[in-house]
Symmetry: C2
Subunit: 256 residues, 2 copies
């Protein structure tokens, strides 16, 4: 109950938001009550479900920066078994505002305390950085899911990411563990991506999911329709891959 998963990678455009949308939708489809939290001022997650972030008076920003502003007040149901806490550009100010707040890394964890048991899963979409908001996500989480693209410039980011996770584990959240690393936008026809994925598996072994999300333009089209790919292209292999991932995460094992 109440498994909190931070979806993190400081490299840009590796499929964090796409993973939160579609893993979230797949968990909800399996009747696992799921909360999605948008922790990126760019608010792509919020936008992808048709919310209009700029029109929202209250978002996760108010929860983190207010005194006793309850998370429950900004929960939007978006699908059966699927709720969303939105963000908007206000959140861009949060990092600077909170830099000297007491217990500044624990704000999200504290806010989630009364809420997390109402859900089977909480997924947190982080922006492309390792700043205070992402640290809050890692401090609140039980597990970290790392989407990656199998390309050199994206691979380099892993070192700093692993180091940050170790530091949070050591100083802020000893329970934190890596749930797994998910290859996204994979194109099996290119040798480079196959080589990079193989290299990743040889270094990080079991932590890399067997499931890999293949490249498909349907993923780019779906948010324009304000739908997860599970609705937009329900029988598409990409939709099925996220369903498989949901099964693996629910049941905690993957045959390798």
């Amino acid at each position: 109950m109440g498994r909190v998963i931070a979806v993190v990678n400081q490299k840009g455009g590796v499929g964090k938001t796409t993973t939160v949308i579609n893993l979230g939708a797949a968990l909800a489809e399996r009747q696992q009550r799921t909360l999605l939290i948008d922790l990126d001022p760019q608010a792509a997650l919020s936008n992808s479900f048709g919310l209009q972030p700029d029109t929202l008076e209250h978002t996760i920003y108010n929860v983190l920066t207010g005194s006793d502003f309850p998370l429950a007040a900004v929960i939007h149901p978006v699908r059966p078994f699927l709720d969303l806490v939105p963000a908007n550009i206000d959140l861009a100010a949060a990092e600077a505002e909170l830099v000297s707040a007491l217990g500044r890394e624990y704000l999200l964890r504290d806010a989630l305390e009364d809420i997390r048991q109402q859900y089977a899963f909480v997924l947190i979409d982080c922006g492309p950085n390792l700043g205070l908001l992402t640290i809050n996500a890692l401090t609140a989480a039980d597990e970290v899911l790392i989407p990656i693209i199998c390309e050199f410039l994206a691979m380099r980011a892993m070192g700093m990411l692993i180091q940050t996770i170790s530091r949070v584990k050591k100083r802020l959240n000893p329970q934190l563990r890596v749930l797994g690393i998910l290859g996204t936008m994979y194109d099996p026809r290119t040798i480079h991506t196959r080589e990079v994925l193989d290299e990743l598996r040889s270094f990080l072994g079991e932590k890399v999911f067997d499931i890999v999300i293949r490249k498909s333009i349907r993923f780019a089209e779906a948010p324009a329709a304000h739908q997860p790919i599970l609705e937009y292209a329900s029988s598409h292999p990409g939709a099925q891959a996220y369903r498989d991932l949901a099964e693996v995460i629910i049941h905690g094992e993957e045959k390798h």
Copy 2:
């Protein structure tokens, strides 16, 4: 002389770094003396030329946060006519450190003052955000080059980006102008990307370059070899596209 171009887009993974590498290499190939500045603590640009950011004692961080630490002291020649000012993870602390510095948006501009006339072009690689470092780049620049990928989630970022550029123009740098918008990772076979590009052209007209950089795995492979694509795959259409872009930028016109 001394045209400073900020390469900016807060959306992650849209080809900012790839554009700085390859436009820079193409300008240098045309004997335009070019300086590349890495303004991203993730230091992908620095890495792509084979520098080892973690081993560097001094980087752009020291220039921005030190008193009178000269930019000249951190300039590394990387190719004929091509120099690089590296970054590393130290820069991650800069945003917080500089938030209350006097004239905090002008630090890069001041640092460039004595240097810019020694170059035909200065290209600044920004990270995926619109924070203080990016604002410094926009305040120091004459022009902004915006790489974009033709997908819904990446398009949404344009609104906030245009707004930020307008604000910088209004309050900090009235000379700032948009050099152009460059479609990257374009796949002509997908209707979605064609539609998004067409929509972009209809909204922003002449500001969108006719030149579009097509998707090719060679772009992902080249940084692993620590080479621009102009060396790694010199006759590749992607290399030629960046050469064409350099010509257009040097001569200031593009037939539409």
